[in-house]
Symmetry: C2
Subunit: 368 residues, 2 copies
Amino acid sequence: MIDLNRRGLVFAAGSAITISAVGLPVLAATPGRKLGYAIVGLGGYGLGVIIPQFKNCQHSKLVALVSGDPVKAKRVAAEYGVPERSIYDYKNFDSIKDNPDIDIVYVCLPVSMHAEYTIRAAAAGKHVMCEKPMAVSSAECEAMIAACKKAGKKLMIGYRCHFEAYNLEAVRRARAGEIGKLRYFRSEHGFTTGNPNAWRLKKAMSGGGSLMDIGIYALNAARYMTGEEPIAVYAKETTDRNDPRFREVEDMIEFQLEFPSGVIGSCMSMYSANQNHVLLVGDKGRIDMEPGTRYDGNKLWVGQDRSNPITPPPGPGATQWAGQLDHLSLCIINNKEPIVAGEEGLRDIRIIEAVYRSAREQKRIALV
Amino acid sequence: MIDLNRRGLVFAAGSAITISAVGLPVLAATPGRKLGYAIVGLGGYGLGVIIPQFKNCQHSKLVALVSGDPVKAKRVAAEYGVPERSIYDYKNFDSIKDNPDIDIVYVCLPVSMHAEYTIRAAAAGKHVMCEKPMAVSSAECEAMIAACKKAGKKLMIGYRCHFEAYNLEAVRRARAGEIGKLRYFRSEHGFTTGNPNAWRLKKAMSGGGSLMDIGIYALNAARYMTGEEPIAVYAKETTDRNDPRFREVEDMIEFQLEFPSGVIGSCMSMYSANQNHVLLVGDKGRIDMEPGTRYDGNKLWVGQDRSNPITPPPGPGATQWAGQLDHLSLCIINNKEPIVAGEEGLRDIRIIEAVYRSAREQKRIALV
């Protein structure tokens, strides 16, 4: 019981947000209650990844769908036992306010639509889980936070790694001093993107390229692994604008983060090569994860090299997504702030904006 | 026979220096001749590492010693069969000009003494092998190159990794296109330095901290692995000046290299943590070495991850040092330029100067 509480605390160290640990005492106190989620967007992530996870949840259930494709929505509703009256489209979305089954709206849409649907959901009196990146700009993030605050509703960003067993164990060991004084952090996140017509490659819908999509994992890991907030960034971008995939968004961007303690972070984001690596080096050893932030198959080594593979204790949920979904449900039940609230998403977007500016201006950007 | 020639060629690709491949045909043509080396400096590297390597050489032999410690010199001479008349100190060093046994002077001294002893050796009519880093400044490097040129003598810098089997195999595979189009390079090199009184930590003797000593491996690898010369650098330094080890020189410095093709290099140099890693990522896979540049025990993987460990074919010598020592001997015998001539050392020092300047001024420095 202590373990999960400690984890919640250590994981969010360095965050300015209110820290609310999800602990077994809370879980034990509310065994029967499940809050209802409406999934907005039946694309690859919402339909393929999130919806199948409700079966692993203790405090969350699927109760509604929002989609522009009525045939698909009807099929999914039938498969997952969602009543037809709880299927919405983007026109009648606001009428969710009249559906008491829906406690939480999970926004799984292209990034450009996050702000609109978060704000509309809050206005409809619903709590919101919004996928990362939070929005296409920090101004939008601020508007989302303000809207949820005004409505008195929780806002959480879908940072699944904060509920993933290997990452939790890595953070726990870093905070416990197992690798000594932290010296530097490094992460590469990239994959080879294919279809040039994907919405992720359209700047108006995605807000940016690999950094918004996959590099954000490196950035977020830099913050949770070190437990610090960067004070300056420097970035270099390489994009072949003749490549049809990269007419609008960046391919590859390398950014260096300066942390107040002197720890240096170095992160690579790519749409043209496959990498998934998280490394934290201290003066006594290192914490190494490769892959580090995948859906599954993550690996962790602690020590001088890879001779000591670690199998972490279970995370707070049966899966990282179950942990994530139930965390928001429990925060609502217990009136606590999520450990990855809107402020966490805003923080990443502000740094991402500075990274883009640094790459554009070829200079160091101090973060205020 | 083809293999070694090809290696010599591919390894030096991207260099502006004259390329001279060391091949078996040359070795076969001169089986009996061994050139004589004088080792200057009987410290850890000269005495502990280089001198024991002559037994592995085909074209090089130990014929003279230069040391400020006559007792030590006499003992080493006796052990390795060097005649007493071929023991010198720093005062009578220039009289090596009268010793026909000495073909090559190997300068294994603190960095601040490299220029003086290289120039004096050339003036004495000897070829020179000089340890890396070449000198404390690019101005000194230029003077060393000019002195050897004026004397009509070869100058080679002790870049042992250019003769190390794993690194040669890594370069060969990169040039052969095994990982596709190159995207980025990364290397960390560091170790935990101990004794605050070591000459390496005295700026007047070392010219700088971890970057001059160990980070230069990352920099040099960035150049030989990509086969490109950087066009700009950006660097961030972290040094605790209250640590007695780091009163004069830097501890940790992270530098980013921009290459003309768009490849991005990211290198970390440290005196406060142990790392030895070389990674080259392409759009079809990666070449991964960890450790990558050690005296022995290096490892190499090629592919998507570490599932495919590579055992490379033998390098050009029985060991990386034998390959290095014999390379200069053969270049002299065949009147070819070393693949790591003075110009190679100068190139690294110029980049190192730009890295230091970037860290100092917190801005991107273009390399001219």
